[in-house]
């Protein structure tokens, strides 16, 4: 059950799909690059959990998802948010703690919600989004809306109790939920094999009679096929899927991480194999697009990002009078 891909009809990954994945992944990468540059320049403070290196996963998933499908993610979720289509202006304003942010400056980087794009919850608690996504999928099933819910989490989250409760419940009720474990090999500062008893998290799917796949999350073809199979199955009423997408994070747990626990050679090799430029090279080498065409895409994305950061820098701070708003529907003293 660990890899069912070979047993099913392999969805084709054509040139246009690869370019679409490249475009989404590049947007997430450039955004992350820009944010870290701003932090390093001292222009923005706070916490930031870079997702650099993991962009192919949400890019491939969002090449399949519909705009009204739901995504739940976690604090290392900027690539998921950008890929789902959270408007960059309101996303950036939120990261900057501004009133024009998607959450009016009350959420911040660990709590992004943007209902307009279906990014329904971002949690700051490891794994807590997993049972919530079960409820999002349950709602879609009960309303017969045809929507699916994708929940992203790390390898560390696969060791919390709620992961197991959620997988059991989703499988029991055949919910349209796709559990995406972005296995970046580290649970905060602890390497995978010091915290996880099984060599592949995908193996845990079998314990819940759940379709499960172990894929190279940095391989756009494999990731796209996995997403296609899982999302199509969910939409067809064929229940949930656990996708373990193996990847690697380049920037450690959070900004300022000195990464002494990540072997230098391992990190170096991962960065040399950066999946985003690798895909770029492949698209050009395969003559799917020219270098100039990709550069034009990148320029357009960079302009959108620049615009978003300018917007956020100029955006007003929250009004202190709004401190007590939105605790309840009607204010309670």
């Amino acid at each position: 059950m660990t890899s069912q891909i070979a047993e099913e009809v392999e969805p084709a990954v054509d040139a246009d799909i690869l370019v679409r994945i490249f475009t989404i992944a590049t947007k997430a990468k450039l955004y992350d690059d820009q944010y870290r540059a701003m932090m390093n320049a001292g222009k923005v403070g706070g916490m930031y959990y870079s997702a650099r290196g993991q962009e192919i996963i949400p890019a491939a998933i969002n090449a399949v998802l519909s705009p009204d499908d739901y995504v739940v993610t976690m604090y290392r979720g900027v690539h998921d948010q950008v890929s789902k289509g959270v408007p960059l202006r309101t996303l950036t304003a939120e990261l900057f703690g501004r009133a024009s942010g998607s959450c009016k400056g009350k959420g911040g980087p660990m709590h992004i919600t943007d209902v307009s794009s279906g990014l329904i919850v971002t949690t700051g608690v490891v794994g807590s989004g997993i049972p919530i996504a079960v409820g999002v999928g349950l709602s879609a099933q009960m309303r017969r809306s045809g929507q699916v819910a994708v929940v992203n989490f790390g390898d560390g989250a696969a060791n919390i109790g709620a992961f197991h409760e959620a997988l059991n419940m989703a499988s029991l009720w055949k919910l349209p939920v796709i559990f995406v474990c972005q296995n970046n090999r580290y649970a905060e500062y602890t390497p995978y094999d010091q915290g996880t008893s099984v060599d592949q998290i995908a193996k845990r799917g079998a314990a819940y009679s759940m379709r499960a796949m172990h894929v190279d999350g940095n391989d756009p073809d494999a990731m796209y096929r996995a997403a296609r199979i899982a999302i199509d199955a969910a939409r067809a009423g064929d229940g949930p899927t656990l996708i373990e997408a193996v990847t690697y994070r380049f920037e450690g747990h959070m900004m300022g991480d000195t990464k002494e626990y990540q072997p230098k050679e391992e990190l170096k090799a991962a960065i040399e194999a950066d999946p985003v430029p690798r895909l770029r090279h492949r698209i050009i080498a395969s003559e799917y697009r020219t270098e100039a065409e990709l550069a034009a895409i990148e320029d357009e994305l960079q302009n959108e990002i620049d615009d978003a950061f300018e917007f956020a820098m100029a955006a007003p701070l929250p009004d202190v009078a709004d401190l007590t708003a939105d605790v309840y529907g009607t204010e309670i003293r």
């Binding site: 919600t113 919850v121 608690v125 919530i132 079960v134 605790v327 309670i332």
Partner: protein, 339 residues
């Protein structure tokens, strides 16, 4: 906003029933009124219909889709309720016993309570989690706690504790149709002992309105849930000694009817807060502090608290009785204010 069905002769329709029946009736009615209302919880399906049979007949009437039995997975129950609530449903999860809320505290405290705020009002969590508890039944330390204190201390949650059958129905309907997460605390000893006239139909008691259970002029007894009945009994006894106690049943701790509390204590000049939760850092402390801040010059004595001992709930009956706030404790606290 109290909606009451009236019969053709103008009399309020309804009948006397036990609290447990009133709760069943409210759930049934809510599911009938609104297709987005659904239950999920352990053992709630027929034929058992829940530990006390509260859900009996509902899964047969509405199907297992809407009266949804769950595995013993409190985190997933609460998480699923939250996810459904932010995407258009009105879930009514049941956490069998209040102590088990500690098992899903992350979902309740970090998520249900905070998602509206953290999302800047884009999402809200219209769920009502029902739970049952209460000491005195010999269930020991992990099946009896009153944990309203930490819930009241969590902005974003509403906290409701009925003491009568009518309020159980009216408050539960209001809770289910409220757009914020409500923790609805049922003190199981009241399931069968509280029996009173319950209006028929879509009867709602607004959240945030305390009930004057007894009028009085000399001292205000402030309580909720089961201890309201103890306060009423003590008040009747005190009347023979010439002390007329007003008894306030708060019904909802959040939102809190501070106006009615201050009006009553402003009138009597004396207040005793009575609750079954342990004394230390209980909600009584908050009430005592607030009353003191607002009415300091008008009080004839300090605000007294009568509450459980600062211990886990013990098993042996003699210990459990000693643990719980008693009618004698209430009377002693009141008399102390008249020395």
């Amino acid at each position: 906003m109290t909606i009451t069905a009236k019969s053709s002769d103008g009399a309020v329709a309804g009948r006397k029933m036990k609290m447990i029946e009133a709760i069943s009736e409210a759930i049934d009615l809510a599911m009938e009124i609104d297709d987005s209302v659904f239950e999920l919880g352990e053992d709630i399906q027929d034929p058992k219909g829940g530990g006390f049979g509260i859900h009996k007949g509902l899964s047969t009437k509405y199907g297992l889709d809407r009266v949804r039995p769950t595995p013993i997975s409190e985190q997933a129950i609460m998480g699923a309720a939250i996810g459904a609530a932010i995407t258009g449903m009105r879930p009514v999860p049941e956490i069998m016993l209040m102590n088990f809320m500690a098992v899903c505290a992350d979902q309740l405290i970090n998520h249900a309570a905070k998602l509206r705020y953290m999302s800047g009002g884009q999402t809200n969590v219209p769920l009502t989690v029902r739970t049952m508890t209460g000491a005195g039944g010999g269930f020991g330390a992990q099946h009896s706690d009153m944990l309203e204190g930490p819930l009241v201390h969590t902005p974003g949650l509403k906290v409701v504790i009925p003491s009568t059958a009518a309020d159980a129905k009216g408050l539960l309907l209001s809770s289910i149709f409220d757009d914020d997460p409500v923790v609805f605390i049922e003190m199981y000893p009241l399931y069968f002992s509280a029996s009173d006239f319950v209006p028929a139909g879509d009867y709602r008691v607004p959240l945030g309105e305390a009930r004057i259970a007894r009028q009085g002029s000399d001292v205000t007894l402030i309580s909720w849930g089961r201890q309201v009945h103890d306060c009423l009994a003590v008040a009747n006894d005190l009347s023979a000694s010439g002390i007329e106690a007003e008894v306030l049943d708060l019904r909802t701790l959040v939102p809190l009817d501070l106006d009615r509390i201050l009006a009553s204590v402003g009138k009597t000049g004396r207040a005793v807060v009575v609750h079954e939760a342990v004394r230390r850092n209980g909600f009584g402390a908050e009430l005592a502090a607030t009353i003191s801040e607002e009415l300091f010059g008008q009080l004839h004595g300090p605000v007294r608290r009568v509450a459980a001992a600062n211990t886990p709930v013990p098993y042996a009956s003699v210990l459990e009785t000693a643990y719980m706030p008693s009618r004698a404790d209430i009377e002693q606290a009141v008399r102390g204010l008249f020395r």
